[in-house]
Amino acid sequence: MNDRIKKLRRQSLRAVPELSAERGMLLTRFYKSAACRGLSAPLLRAEAFAYLLNHKKITILPGELIVGERGPAAKATPTYPEITCHSLADLEILARRPKIPFRVSATTRRQFAREIIPFWSGKTMRDKLFACMTPEWLEAYRAGVFTEFMEQRAPGHTVCGDKIYRQGCGDFKKQIRASLAALDFLQDPEALAKSEELQAMAIAADAIIAFAGRYAAKARSQMTAKKNPARKKELRAIAAACAWVPAHAPRDFHDALQHYWFIHLGVISEANPWDAFNPGRLDQHLLPFYRRGLADGSLTREKARELLQAFWIKFNNHPSPPKVGVTAEESGTYTDFALINTGGLTAKGEDGVNELSFLILEVVEEMRLLQPSSAVQISRKSPDAFLKRALEIVRTGYGQPSLFNSEAIVAELLRQGKSLADARRGGASGCVETGAFGRESYILTGYFNLVKVLEITLHNGIDPLSGRRIGLETGDPAAFRRMDDLLAAFAKQLRFFIDIKIRGSNVIDRLYARYLPVPFLSLLIDDCIANGRDYHEGGARYNTSYIQGVGLGTISDCLSAIQRHVFQDKRLSMKRLLSLLDSDFRGREASRQLLLNKTPRYGNDDDAADDLMKKVFELYFAAIDGRPNMRGGRYRINLLPTTVHIYFGRKTGATPDGRKAGEPLSEGISPVQGADRQGPTAVIKSAAKIDHLRTGGTLLNQKFTPQLLADERGIGQLANLVRAYFGLHGHHVQFNVVDAATLRAAQKHPERYRDLIVRVAGYSDYFVDIGVELQEEIISRTEHQEFE
């Protein structure tokens, strides 16, 4: 890392996240103005976008090479009052919450109180959304059966494709003119709507070009003021780049990064889409520019590294926009889930790992920033050196990069109907979700609490936490004689809540299409221009809606406990089990331990538990997969939790697997914390019993202590473990290297860390089983390595 990057990185790390009222104020002023009266929704949104980009403050920070901020300063984070409007109470929460706070100035508070809140209150997308939901939906939502993504942020969840490296916004405008010319006003009842949408896209294209022009002017004015000739030269280069992109296709490496960055800013200024935006397969996109630059002498590897690092810092300057309401109290991260993919396959099916893939890994390793997140795609064709290099970075204990299986991603996308080339150009974004980059609207609609549905089934339709009947009467569980009786009741209950969820999501699809088109994003995702339709209206080539199942490990263990102790061994009656749950095991610790320890549990390569997991998977799949959404596409499943397993856990009472009320559920497709006791190969075997290829992504977390990965051999075997999992069609795995604090926690709560393996010396053992002195020794060794 050179001095400039060190300085920029330090600036970024030190910048205090602050809530900015700039966007809220500009939007409010625009919506109040006469300019917007009578405009159709797409034109209104495009004009608002243009107004915002024309009037917002722009900054070029000292030493920057890649320029552009969403807010008036680094980490100054705007709000999107047309989507969700922060109340004064929300601002207080954001300013005071102990983790992930945002500074809120007195001026900002005043602007919210006087201008923003009075204007938007009752008119936001969030208000419209809740007003359209049915009482059943609201009951289930409040009970924690599911969450709804679009009550906080706009749909997005998409990734930039490859076209912006070949075309600029000027080219998009030509395509828009062609689409307009082709409209059939004689036959097509949608021709008018399409023409408005296309005009809106053209306005958005002009707006981003003008925005870049402001940066070019700013760079030129700084240039005349600066004495330092080196900085003058840099500012000249910045001005030249900003005058060229995003109007035209990038000419060189610097242009390409600056081009993407303007596009990124456009997307995250237009709305607050989930997962921000992301350049996707960056190593492949940039490769032609990199090779050309090296060949003609205009670029060196070092210069490319510096530009990439400068680009990385821009992501880190943009925290995730803060939420409102309860979610604001719970939200636990500044990260906005821009996940940069490297490696994988090319569109022609060749190995996509290239020299830039390695350079990007070096950048990831050196930068150690929260944002952007990084992922490597591993295909059968990827060289071992690439996988091992990625694992060496994982070993440093920063949880990145995560590892994805290219062949699984391609197979998942093909099953959903994508072309082979589009599938190979795709990847994983956000957490782990699969998408055809640049060509798909794939929207995560919300998390779904599988365990809660079982809890409601076990109470014959009643949510025991509220005592309210929110589900179907599927029968008194005490009358169930066999596992199949319980599973049949669960299946009915599941279908009931999935129908509620899908009905809600369909309405929300239409609300966003009607009230919040995104003409700028629509420029970027094929085939919105050709179709003359907005991204929210089904303009994309592919349109998927995901519902993310949560708690697969917990529900499998619950069913396994019932199977073993109630139906098989008859050690507990159903009635007795339910009374244990209703009393949260108070005074019944021995019974709880029995359920915890004498139950076959998911994650141990034991079919007794894993077969039940497969049954739940099939029921969930059958309830969702293939059902139509309102954008011309279909619903699909994926299995990932982010941090919602904690919230869902709080909403779920004690469960038959021995989990106490309020404790977290299992996350992703990982086993319940501490339930896997046969080591990582058994976890992988269990997880691979899921048919990953019928999902749009699954998330598997594995914990390791640094000692286990200390040497070449540890890395080599970890690589082999990954290859084996991917050979079994696993979608994703990430390795969290355990730190000393976790080991301390394991000493205190051994029952939660029964799966933690540590390397003692030439052998490894379960941490919680070894003597205290040895534990201390390992903790001090771990601490030591953390400082290295």
Binding site: G587, E589, A590, S591, R592, Q593, L594, L596, N597, K598, D605, Q678, G679, P680, T681, A682, K685, D711, R713, G714, G716, Q717, N720, L721, R723, A724, G727, L728, P750, I757, V760, A761, G762, Y763, S764, D765, D769, I770, G771, E773, L774, E777
Partner: protein, 301 residues
């Protein structure tokens, strides 16, 4: 064909090449003071007590024991081992896994079925299965049955042995073993007897023969502070290794304190309570002794 084992450990990456599963045989002719698998010494099943897991309000095990071998003392479960006949009733009664049985009789087929679960990893990593213990050659027929079936499946096989077994047992298994991990604890007969309870004559007879006959062999030397880590002793061991019929890699296994807590679970006292693992610098010095004799040496398995 049945045998007694006390564990099958998966993702073993220090017991031979690649990702392996290791089967731990129960019963060992030696009594090494530093033994880190003391539950592998006795050839009979034994109850282990993980007292830290015990719940305060549960007496399930006491109620389950027909021989009144269990009682509660100072908030801890105490097992009077002289009364215990290892019937296992307490183990199944205990909900919290305080009581666990070290040692179960299993058929070769059962073991192979369990090992087969990880075959995909052996393939992806050029790994395989390892038979360790205890001393696997103590149950030579059972070992042979396992090795044969493992080879039939195409797995790489490793036998981790203390070397104290009749040569006839070695010859029987020899065709089915890809790699031997052969322990060497001391060249000095008297010291060997003091440290392990057995003389080393049989071991020192077998090692050259295995060196000659085995497909592949690595010598494993545990480094026990104050017991076998003097320069003289190590130089003798290094000379001995260098003089074997064929050159073999040497694995130094630095002492660690893993055995102590296991002894506690078995109701035994740790014979080496004060021992400390050797320092990294000391290990480097020792490795040099072997390198001087042109031996390939690594620390750890």
């Amino acid at each position: 064909m049945k045998g007694i084992i006390f564990d099958i450990k998966k993702f073993a990456i220090h017991d031979g090449p690649g990702i392996r599963s290791t089967v731990f045989f129960k019963g060992c002719p030696l009594r090494c003071r530093w033994c880190h698998n003391p539950e592998g010494i006795s050839p009979a099943a034994e109850v282990m007590v993980f007292s830290r897991r015990c719940l305060s309000d549960c007496r399930s095990c006491i109620k389950a024991c027909p021989r009144k071998a269990l009682s509660r003392y100072a908030a801890k479960i105490v097992l009077q081992r002289e009364r215990c006949d290892h019937c296992g009733l307490c183990v199944s009664a205990c909900p919290a896994e305080v009581l666990q049985m070290a040692g179960r009789f299993v058929s070769a087929e059962q073991v192979i079925d369990e090992l087969a679960k990880d075959a995909v990893f052996y393939r992806s990593s050029a790994g395989g299965v390892t038979f360790s213990g205890g001393e696997p050659l103590q149950q030579a027929h059972f070992l042979l049955a396992l090795l044969r079936q493992a080879k039939k499946k195409g797995w790489h096989t490793t036998v981790d042995t203390c070397g104290h077994a009749p040569w006839a047992s070695f010859t029987k298994i020899m065709p089915w073993v890809d790699l031997f991990l052969f322990d060497l604890k001391s060249i000095d007969l008297g010291r060997h007897r003091r440290l392990t309870g057995m003389p080393n004559d049989l071991i020192l007879e077998n090692l050259p023969r295995v060196s000659h006959a085995a497909r592949s062999l690595a010598i494993r030397i545990p480094l026990i502070p104050g017991s076998n880590d003097s320069e003289v002793e190590l130089a003798r061991m290094a000379d001995y290794c260098a003089a074997l019929p064929r050159p073999h890699p040497v694995h130094l296994l630095p002492y660690h304190r893993g055995g102590g807590s296991k002894r506690e679970r078995l109701g035994q006292t740790d014979p080496m309570p004060g021992a400390r693992p050797p320092s990294a610098a000391k290990i480097q010095q020792i490795m040099e002794i072997f390198r001087q004799r042109k031996l390939t040496v690594i620390s750890g398995g």
